[in-house]
Amino acid sequence: MADAVRTGARAPATDRFTMARLLRAREAGVFIALLVLCLFLSFATDGFLTSLNLLNVGRQISLLGIMAVGMTFVLIAGEVDLSVGSTYAFSGLATGMLIIAGWTLLPAIGVGLLTGVAIGLINGVLSTYGRLPSLIATLGMLSIVRGAALILTNGQPVTVNARNGALPEVLPTFSFIGQGYLFTIIPMQLVFFVIVAVLAWIVLSFSNFGFRVYAVGGSAKAARVSGISVNKVKISAFILMGVLAALAGILGLAFLPSSQAGRTGLGLELDVIAATIVGGASLSGGEGTILGTILGVLIIGVMRNGLVLLGVSPFVQELMIGLVIIIAVGIDKWSTRRTG
């Protein structure tokens, strides 16, 4: 019985929502790992359980979280996107260059997001109609987009400030979305993450599109018999991923406010995929939830923060992050009986 519910909860929540059910859900393993980690850190450090630090963690995980939400859709649809780090860099740089070319904010951000759409579209078309494995298509795009960003900027850093040509009226708003605080306390990046996560949760759990994403990833063939256009659904998931990577890139630029094509977002794809898979999504498709992904992102963020607060050497940190990834996923696998 427990198992039926457990597996049931992995699919969109048809069942009524109860706390007990939630705790037996797929996410439970990760949730417990997170809880243990937080408890431990509250006792072991005095800096962890302060609202300032927690909000800080919230900000630091936001960009990763926004991208992990996109990756959740792609993984559930049975694909993978390795190009997200490059998209993150490219879209941020594109927006930045437009702003310092004197554009106003909305058009500049709009174009930045559109570059994300375009990259997602290419990824999607190559992986569906192009019949390439998405791993290969997006690995190729990883290089292509990074190369394009280098060519576009000639390898120079792009810094958004008035001296470089940004309109003075644009700067305060741009800074606000990246660096500002809502009600002077909640980091704007976190606000964006929360909005994205809530919207994605609604879409994935309750909308037809969400349903189709699960169906397509669970069995593409069966989805086709149900009249679902597999390719369109997959392409949409890639586009969503592209837009969210672009959004993260733009917010990242607004935060610093400087970016560099040769360095920004390098290797980010593995971080994003790790967080998503720790949260319960599977590379074989059909599985994953937004709640799980948020937990996955949190566990990695809290871990990083905690290790720093504990004064652990960065080398040991590197090692611990790997251990935690394995243990967090392991808790779930090892705590349930073998079911074949």
């Binding site: 280098l150 400087s258 970016s259 040769g262 607060l309």
Partner: protein, 301 residues
């Protein structure tokens, strides 16, 4: 020097010089995608024009020893001279020696490779510039405090050299303790987050000494956002837009320039002089120190 005396020029190149054919100089920079590459490249191009030679600016995207070596190996047959800034001294030394052995003159620039048989070096003495940074740090701290050193690549040769110099200078001050060296990684967001976390973990830090271009503005930005200019002093390197602004606003207390354009120029120029048969010597491109007082010179440009 003896190195110069040992060197025999390849007949192929000699023939080219004698025939008055245009020479092809290759300048291999250890990361063509970093912020200095364009300045170095500008210097290289200026030298090519003034000295009337062909000059190619090459190197890997992202610091990568294998990539740098492979590229040099591939182009060895084409080059009449090589100027190189090494990702890693030990890794690149054998290749430099092989190029030298093939009768192709090699000079180093930006990051020296003294272990190798290179003919000369053009650039900043990195240990010296580190020392200068350390001294500046000591000065702005008034001789006492806890210092954190930050670098985007603790393992790179230039970073090791500067760190060595900085630590030497800081050790000389009894009131100053170096708490740690923070390796931030190269992603801008991660650099900032690393500094943010480290400052949180160790609130007693009163000085941040950044060894390069990119953690300098990150440290300055942190100071600016936390309104900590009184408590935390920042000394760093280079004159990125952001850094200039931060120095003007008092969030970075001092920065050291390494004149990248000059380095690129000198790299090519040294080889051309050598091929012309003129004697060559190391070129020190100098240590430019900028604080709030003199930063205006740069900001106007």
């Amino acid at each position: 020097e003896s190195k110069l005396a040992d060197f025999t020029l390849a007949p192929r190149i000699k023939a080219k010089i004698d025939a008055g054919q245009p020479l092809d100089i290759y300048v291999s920079y250890h990361d063509v995608s970093n912020e200095f590459a364009p300045f170095m490249k500008a210097g290289v191009e200026r030298a090519a024009k003034e000295d009337k030679v062909g000059a190619q600016f090459i190197g890997p995207v992202g610091a990568d020893a294998d990539g740098q070596i492979s590229e040099i190996e591939t182009l060895m047959g084409k080059m009449d001279g090589l100027a190189i800034s090494s990702v890693s001294t030990d890794a690149l030394a054998p290749v430099i020696d092989r190029v030298i052995a093939a009768g192709i003159p090699v000079v180093t620039f930006n990051t020296d490779n003294p272990e190798s048989k290179r003919l000369a070096f053009a650039g900043q003495d990195l240990v010296q510039s580190g020392r200068e940074a350390g001294k500046l740090m000591a000065k702005v701290l008034g001789g006492k405090g806890k210092v954190m050193i930050t670098t985007i690549d603790a393992a790179a040769q230039w970073s090791l050299d500067r760190e060595k110099g900085a630590r030497e200078a800081l050790k000389a001050e009894s009131g100053i303790e170096v708490v740690s060296t923070l390796n931030t990684g190269t992603d801008p967001q991660k650099i900032y987050a690393a500094i943010e976390n480290a400052m949180l973990a160790n609130p007693s830090i009163s000085g941040v000494l950044s060894l390069e271009c990119c953690s300098t503005p990150a440290a300055g930005t942190w100071v600016e956002r936390n309104k900590a200019a009184d408590k935390v002093k920042v000394v760093g390197f280079d004159l990125l837009d952001q850094t200039v602004q931060l120095v003007q606003d008092g969030n970075v207390n001092a920065t050291i320039d390494q004149a990248p354009e000059k380095q690129g120029f000198a790299a090519v120029d040294l080889i051309v002089q050598f091929l012309k048969g003129q004697p060559i010597n190391n070129v020190d491109t100098g240590v430019g120190i900028y604080t709030k007082e003199n930063i205006a010179e740069v900001a106007k440009k």
